[in-house]
Subunit: 330 residues, 2 copies
Amino acid sequence: MRKVVILTETELRRCVAIDPDAVAVVEAAFHALATKAVAMPPILRLDIPEANGEVDVKTAYIPGVPSFAIKVSPGFFDNPKRGLPSLNGLMMLLSASTGLVEAVLLDNGYLTDIRTAAAGAVAAKHLAPAHVETAGVLGAGAQARLQLAAAHLVRPFARALVWARDAAKAEDCSRDIAAMLEIEARAVADPARLVAESQLVVTATPARRPILGAEWLHPGLHITAIGADSPEKNEIAPAAIARADRFVCDRRSQSSQSGELHHAEKSGLLRDGFAAIELGEVIAGTAPGRTSPEAITICDLTGTGVQDTAIATFALRRAAEHGLGAALAA
Amino acid sequence: MRKVVILTETELRRCVAIDPDAVAVVEAAFHALATKAVAMPPILRLDIPEANGEVDVKTAYIPGVPSFAIKVSPGFFDNPKRGLPSLNGLMMLLSASTGLVEAVLLDNGYLTDIRTAAAGAVAAKHLAPAHVETAGVLGAGAQARLQLAAAHLVRPFARALVWARDAAKAEDCSRDIAAMLEIEARAVADPARLVAESQLVVTATPARRPILGAEWLHPGLHITAIGADSPEKNEIAPAAIARADRFVCDRRSQSSQSGELHHAEKSGLLRDGFAAIELGEVIAGTAPGRTSPEAITICDLTGTGVQDTAIATFALRRAAEHGLGAALAA
């Protein structure tokens, strides 16, 4: 009899975290995106304005990967008023050869957090300077913490800086990062100074106006922007993207529609011949990444279905190894 | 603590079937589609040609309905060679006020079968002649049986006729219908004769060339076509649609893109001023349905997200009434 495995968030947290294996499966997913006939249809989007809510559904099929994920990501932004998180959702894994449902992962967005942080690590691995002494993060949410934890796997920096609009949250976040990574970490009041002192900067905010200015760029800097996932959002000043030596994104079509590239292209500041490169192309070696220690690189991550397929497949394997999950007769 | 209800196909079959309540919730959904600010985004479609497979994801939000469904429908057409059904899938119910996942319905397509049959009953209720002595079906699959069972709830015909390309399957189907509805039912070799003798005809085939000819139409006939759900499929001759007194569909945009209207519009046979009416408009009384016993009416059903939201909400309520389903800590 066919079985469907059901995994809860608690079970998933027990077996999946930011670690080198999670980073490796997401890296492989980006490689596949650049080299294989990946099928990744446009996102399905449902808006429920009465509830200040929206739902995105993403999917991607990677040839050679035996399953594919479908991810449902609701964002209901009045939830915090009721003591509920804004972001939730679940993933499903289906067989790529029969379409049968193999697993339902009731992760409430946890696996999205992990695959987003893992993508940050992949970007740092391929684009940050070889030696990062100080890493900074703009933003003080769960993803700010996860991004530095993930980046630390590939660039074991000795010092972390945190800036956030809310200074108290930046303090909390820096304390958490210090404890988690067992390094020196502190909150700073001036984001320009954070960027000046860092070789790797991650922006992880829902900003709708740039929070990182072009005049702050310096040789040997890599920036990863992960906040923008809709046309209104914008973390990096268009002039910074115009000035960087290399602009990389996870998916050109998405960055250009709902990421940092969107604003840069609208600004009219991009030079003739400006070309956005995809992260998978850098990994595959078909496009240049960082070409010198002094180069300034920027990577925009909008979030892709291949990451979901990769992390969901990985989570199901890990859960099986740990003997977790209920198998229901399908 | 939050809970997610998981229901299996076996449990869903125990509490949901074609009955007047199922027809009523689908009728209400079509009414809402015509009268409320329903949000029903275009279908997400993923193709996996290597496996002769495809996946559709549909959703719809109906104002006033506290939950909305997301339905995942895979169709993998080499499955029968492996002894597996082609169609499978599941539905999820999410809260329309918080986006939280309320239930996962592992129905393997069962609820789609039910809501499709229920829509056929709604079409017959509003468009078929008041008295139907004989109902015919072209096709001999599961949906052929369900369509006549559903139509019988609203037009208790005394006789059923079945035609299918495979005469043996038509025989089997007619025997099943006779037993199920306790009426006279027989297979016929000539679809033209079936139409001639029927006041209500349902086409339920995957035909890619018309199986119902315009010259077969006669006064007092209603036809419901439910087979076409992609641009290549076509059950009703374009000339028949041109000749009918009224053409109704579930959703104009879908019928025109992937249903019977697609072929009729391409044929160039439609008269100036031809207007497709939506079933919800007929139910709501904002557009005319059948205006005389002699009228010839055709209804094309391509399948809509509001039906999924309606049937999933209904199924969860029924399951609770029957004490079925596992509640997992979310």
